[in-house]
Amino acid sequence: MNYLLFNNNIYLSDGSEVKRIEKGLQLKSELEGIDEASICVVDVDVLLAAAVEYPQEKKDCILVRKFKELYQHEPYIIQDERIDNNLFQVIGIKEQKVREVYSLIPQDKVRSFIPYGIALRNTLINKNVNLKKTVVFVDDLETERLLTVFDGLRFSRTRVIANNEENILTEIKRSQIDFFKKTEEFLSKKSVDFVIIVNNQALAAEISKNTEKLQVEYLDVAYPAIEGLKVTDSLIKYRLPEENLKKRREIELKKRVITSIISLCLVTSGLIFLLFNKLEFEAVKNRYTLAKQSNERLNEQLKIFDKETYREDLKVRKSLNYGISYFSILEIIPSSYTVNSFRFYKTNKWNVEMTLFADGDRILGPIPRIRVLKNAKITDIFVNNQPGKYLRVTL
């Protein structure tokens, strides 16, 4: 893995040593051997802007509009990071700059592409620098000095000051004032105190001699941005517009494929259910037709058999001789009774019901329960002031 810092010069690190490469003809050949690289770019523009957090499309739209209002002279590629509730830090790199970087290193070899401020902030956080205070960081790159102001997650546009051995304190103050003016509407603190951190011990000692008693600290990291690149886990990665378009198309295509699959699954499940039932219906219909055919065949057969055998069957049904049955009941009933009415009717077996009354003024004697009347139901009745008996017997 290689780490690159793009400024007026390019600083290339293989993880241990840092090499400064000047822009020129040999630059392309120097960078050709790189397999994978993490890149940070100094030349970025930063804007703090408030926007809704959701939906994301609306947030992006607001942030792009606000950034363009301020930097409308050139096309930018913009990324943003959430700083606070509904507050975003919009960081834009000129499209020309991004193209320049990708012309040197192919896109597929770039793992991360972040602003210098984020890379530096990573190092400051790793070195436990208190960013709750306003910090002005002076990155001494020998030929030039980079001034970046931090306040929490916020950072300023990095100013590049040529190293001409002049007092840099004025530039530091200017950077701090400029940052404070740009961000004061979003700052809760009104204090203008700040800490100066320098990665050059001699320069730190020199600045600390200031008359305003400004706090100056020394940070022993020669290339803090390159160190910050090693630990980057930022979601930010600058891409070319056409690459973004390609990515968006890929995402769109993926969405369409997923939509098509979901739609296909939905319709297929419905279709399978329908086809399964239709097939079963056809099978059941066939079974029904077969059963119906069998039914008709049996019906015809039965019809023939019925025509040929109904007379014989009727004979079996006509087994009761009503006269003899009547006589067999009468011969048991005492002569003092006369039969008033009777009824032969069929349930499973033949039944006989009789109503008996006294013959004249004769006394009703008991009806013996013998032979056919053994299980008969005999009850007393009283009709028209006349006592009698009701008799029911199953034959």
Binding site: G270, Y288, D313
Partner: protein
């Protein structure tokens, strides 16, 4: 757009499932009908098996059998001296039986429901003899008694004449 496509697919799927469900309901109905037909078939097979054992006879047309019943009744009247009226749905001694017959438990065999009404009894009438005559009528024809009811001076024998 994607949401619309998914919504349309969902709608189509619901439509297909609904259509499939109505087919399923039809399947269930058909299955019930099949079960009924199969039970009926089983029943008919059993009947055929039992009827195969019975001796076969040539069927008699219903009108001819009805005439036989009437003639038999007239014969019994002559022998017993008791007048018997035959009523077909309330119409006495009707010769026109068309439109009165109905299906019976025997396939292809029709039935004619008649009433034999005897309403002229004397105290000396032998009721057992009358009933015996009715039995003879039943025995000599394809007439089957279902009920005999005697109340006051009125005896009604209900039954059915069977024929082709």
């Amino acid at each position: 757009m994607n949401k619309i496509i998914i919504f349309i697919s969902l709608f189509v799927s619901i439509f297909l499932i609904n259509f499939g469900s109505s087919t399923k309901a039809q399947i269930d109905d058909e299955k019930i009908e099949i079960a009924q037909i199969q039970a009926n078939n089983f029943d008919m097979k059993q009947k055929i098996i039992s009827k195969k054992l019975l001796p076969k006879q040539v069927p008699v047309p219903l009108s001819m059998e009805y005439s036989t019943v009437l003639n038999q009744i007239r014969l019994l009247e002559i022998y017993s001296g008791i007048r018997m009226d035959v009523q077909l749905e309330g119409v006495p001694d009707s010769q026109d039986i068309s439109g009165h017959y109905e299906n019976t438990q025997y396939k292809g065999i029709r039935g004619l429901k008649i009433k034999i009404v005897i309403d002229r009894f004397s105290k000396d009438t032998d009721m057992g003899g009358v009933l015996y005559d009715i039995h003879l009528l039943e025995k000599n024809t394809d007439f089957v008694i279902s009920e005999i009811d005697k109340e006051n001076n009125n005896l009604i024998a209900k039954g059915e004449v069977y024929g082709l």
